[in-house]
């Protein structure tokens, strides 16, 4: 049982290191409080953006926390993919450049799983295979329209 955990931990950690480097241009890895007693330990995310010394998680900015959390989710996905992922405005703290990086990562991960991403951000919409438009006329019900941006001009 401890061996199964170690195998899972190592796989997720190596995914996390690769993904974090790509998403946030920095170095990160997973760390157990006590590697010899995993089932009594906590799992820490050690992250430092490039050129900065290791940061405590609490002092990271909103955008940095988002990218770190998403790197962890994608690291889990590469190890044990779910058939679909549903993200609701996970880009809300990200600046434009980071939304683009995240959108590219999702596009890549979407080769292995279905991604349904609620977003208001243009770089995310532009990277998707398609957009579902949702509107609500005043007082009326939600209406859903499919839009395939790849076939639209401009």
């Amino acid at each position: 049982r401890q061996r199964a955990f170690k195998e899972a931990f190592d796989a997720v950690n190596s995914n996390f290191e690769a993904i974090f480097a790509q998403l946030s241009d920095g170095d990160g890895h997973l760390q157990l409080d006590d590697p010899n007693d995993p089932f009594a330990s906590g799992l820490n995310l050690v992250a430092h953006p490039k050129g900065k010394p290791v940061r405590r998680l609490a002092s990271m900015s909103g955008g940095e926390k988002s990218l770190t959390a998403l790197s962890f989710i994608f690291a889990l996905q590469r190890y044990r993919p779910s058939p679909f992922y549903a993200f609701d405005e996970v880009d809300m703290f990200l600046d434009g450049a980071n939304v683009e990086r995240l959108a590219r990562m999702i596009k890549h991960q979407a080769q292995q799983a279905q991604f349904i991403v609620v977003s208001l951000r243009r770089p995310m919409i532009e990277s998707a295979d398609r957009t579902i438009g949702v509107t609500q006329a005043r007082g009326a019900y939600t209406q859903v329209l499919g839009l395939d941006l790849q076939t639209q001009s401009g």
């Binding site: 899972a8 609701d88 809300m92 703290f93 279905q114 349904i116 991403v117 398609r130 957009t131 949702v134």
Partner: protein
């Protein structure tokens, strides 16, 4: 496997019956504030039994019924959501038809990698991955390699309510639904659904809870 379609009837801001068709790959849902985007994700959580009412921003389940429907107060009202999944050929073996007593036949010594589950009493070897299953076994699955989950929430005029789950139109318990979803790696505590405002919760979570996420997968 991917979600092919979500059908919402009288659910939250969806007044009538609305189809949301979905394809594999990367889909964005966008639109103005308050239009109903997050409600579509709530519909997934609702139908698949992945969250309590608070996780769908409802104080109690009856709050999920569209207010224009329940507002009339004349009789029992119902909200329902159906999620249709499309299966890959090699996944067909993961569908477990239930025995009459609800037991799942392949629960004795089945492999853990999700392939080669034994079907309804056949001797099933560990390499059943591409072997077509008996048509009778697949009977509940439509010929397009789909399967559906439906949940209906009925609320009486007095405010009492009942909730029922169905796989391929057949009544099932939440436990059976979770077992079936489990085989496809869909879990209530899974991190494949991230709700609005929750993305940084992985950072502020207790380190032991975070380690348990790895336990689950191992």
């Amino acid at each position: 496997m991917h979600i092919k379609r979500v059908e919402l009837s009288h659910f939250k801001s969806f007044g009538g019956t609305t189809q949301v068709p979905l394809l594999p790959g990367f889909t964005v849902i966008s639109g103005p504030n308050g239009s109903g985007k997050s409600n579509i994700l709530d519909a997934l959580l609702f139908a698949l039994g992945l969250s309590g009412s608070k996780g769908m921003r409802a104080d109690r389940l009856p709050d999920l019924v569209n207010q224009n429907v329940s507002g009339r107060g004349r009789s029992t009202v119902e909200a329902s959501v159906t999620v249709t999944f499309a299966l890959e050929a090699e996944e067909l073996g993961l569908m477990q038809p239930e025995d009459e007593d609800g037991a799942v036949p392949a629960s004795n010594g089945s492999t853990t990698n999700g392939n080669g589950h034994r079907a309804n009493g056949s001797s099933g070897n560990g390499h059943a991955k591409v072997e077509p299953l008996e048509q009778s076994v697949l009977a509940p699955i439509s010929p397009f390699n789909e399967w559906t989950v439906t949940r209906k929430l009925r609320v009486t005029q007095q405010g009492t309510y009942t909730s029922h789950y169905f796989i391929n139109g057949e009544s099932c318990t939440l436990t059976q639904l979770h077992e079936q979803l489990h085989r496809f790696r869909i879990y209530p505590e899974g991190y494949n659904v991230v709700l609005q405002g929750d993305v940084t919760s992985i950072i502020s979570m207790n380190p032991r809870e975070r380690r348990e996420i790895i336990d689950e997968l191992a």
